[in-house]
Symmetry: C2
Subunit: 242 residues, 2 copies
């Protein structure tokens, strides 16, 4: 008996039209579609993005991935998610996992895929790339994210101010993912370096709730949602004439 394929489908940053043709085709061709569960019973971001594309006959699996750091809790959640998906794959049914942004970029899919692959080494896994939020953010702003010889540094949720200092020393363009918890610290570093007017803060890019904060000199404090992203362009005055 041949297993089904596990497809990791990138569904983009928020606007349902930012899914790729390939992603949509695979999403609609799988009898089973999985996605991360939302908080407090609400739909998750990936589910909201793909909702209008799914057909009634497709089985939907809402998988729980807790927002915690503790390894044992995470490991258990991954095993539970894998156990929900596996029976379909075992029967030969393809499963599409819908992931906001890009499937390879800080994606929950990585852990689900690794857990399933570790339990069932013969499982076939297919990744479909998509639009990730730093690029969508630059397009929203009408800014070139990088040009010419600019280097780009991307930091995940930032817990240590030294990491940002090092990134700013090294790269002309710095992106901070999920900046919510460290915004105050980041603001002080940008203020010290005179970069408040060369930084853009974006929330929920390409959705109806999108917000843009700029220049940051107006916003020393902000109460942000989980999907908040900062772009810092140190050379913006020099080369960003748009």
């Amino acid at each position: 008996m041949t297993f089904g394929i596990l497809h990791g489908v990138s569904v983009g940053p928020g606007d349902p039209e930012l899914i790729t043709l390939k992603g949509l085709k695979i999403l609609q061709s799988c009898p089973v579609v999985a996605f991360p569960a939302g908080l407090q019973g609400r739909s998750g971001v990936a589910e909201q993005i793909i909702n209008s594309y799914l057909k009634p006959e497709q089985i939907r699996l809402s998988l729980k991935f807790p927002y915690v750091q503790k390894e044992e809790i995470l490991e258990q959640a991954w095993q539970e998610a894998a156990a929900e998906v596996w029976p379909y794959l075992e029967k030969g049914m393809d499963v599409a996992f819908a992931c906001e942004g890009d499937i390879s970029f800080y994606s929950t899919f990585t852990y689900l895929a690794q857990t399933l692959k570790s339990n069932h080494p013969q499982l076939g896994i297919n990744y479909i790339a998509g639009v990730s939020s730093p690029f969508a953010g630059a397009s929203t702003l009408g800014l070139p994210l990088t040009c010419q010889e600019e280097k780009l540094a991307i930091l995940p949720a930032l817990y240590c101010p030294e990491e940002l200092e090092k990134a700013l020393d090294w790269a002309e363009v710095v992106v901070l993912m999920k900046v919510r918890l460290v915004y105050g610290q980041v603001w002080k570093i940008l203020a010290k370096r005179g970069l408040l007017d060369q930084a853009w803060l974006l929330e929920k890019i390409s959705t109806a709730e999108e917000k843009i904060y700029h220049p940051l000199s107006h916003y020393p404090q902000l109460s942000l949602s989980y999907f908040s992203l900062m772009l810092i362009k140190q050379n913006q005055n020099k080369i960003g004439r748009i």
Copy 2:
């Protein structure tokens, strides 16, 4: 009289199905479609990607952007490209510029858009984000590009080995764009750091001519094409179990 809109449409890394629904819709709705000319009379990469989507009645503009560093030659080429596009915009016709990868990421579009905007400040410009090659490369390999607390450094065409050393000191994951001209230097740095087996070299991702080189210990020298990309995952043994 209202000007037409200039749309920068990301068409993805090579596979025509990796364009977004939004990108395709805008591309097909514009009476004029522009793209960078290929070398020696051949079709350029963006043109190849979108060719099957275009309708006979759409006007095609093949714009020349020379592969040189010299500022005056570049500036002149941007002005010439702008002069080819402007008459359509001036008549109120929308123009879609098709760009391989993502429109904000080391894109020729930046210079065309800046030149037109500088000549005609009222011009409306619309950016449509897309799939960029580092993400498409990770999906091709079935690797998570970044996970957990990993930092990502992306370098453009690399002319100075110290830049790579600094990137490897700072980030767990390093991507080198257009690595062709410096491959030999890069190989030596990776060899010194014991990273040859944690680096992947990809050419012409997601096209029929795609090639993957790994482990790099087998390839101290390579004759590469322009679209060559390297992914280096320093922690791969620790977290990349796929």
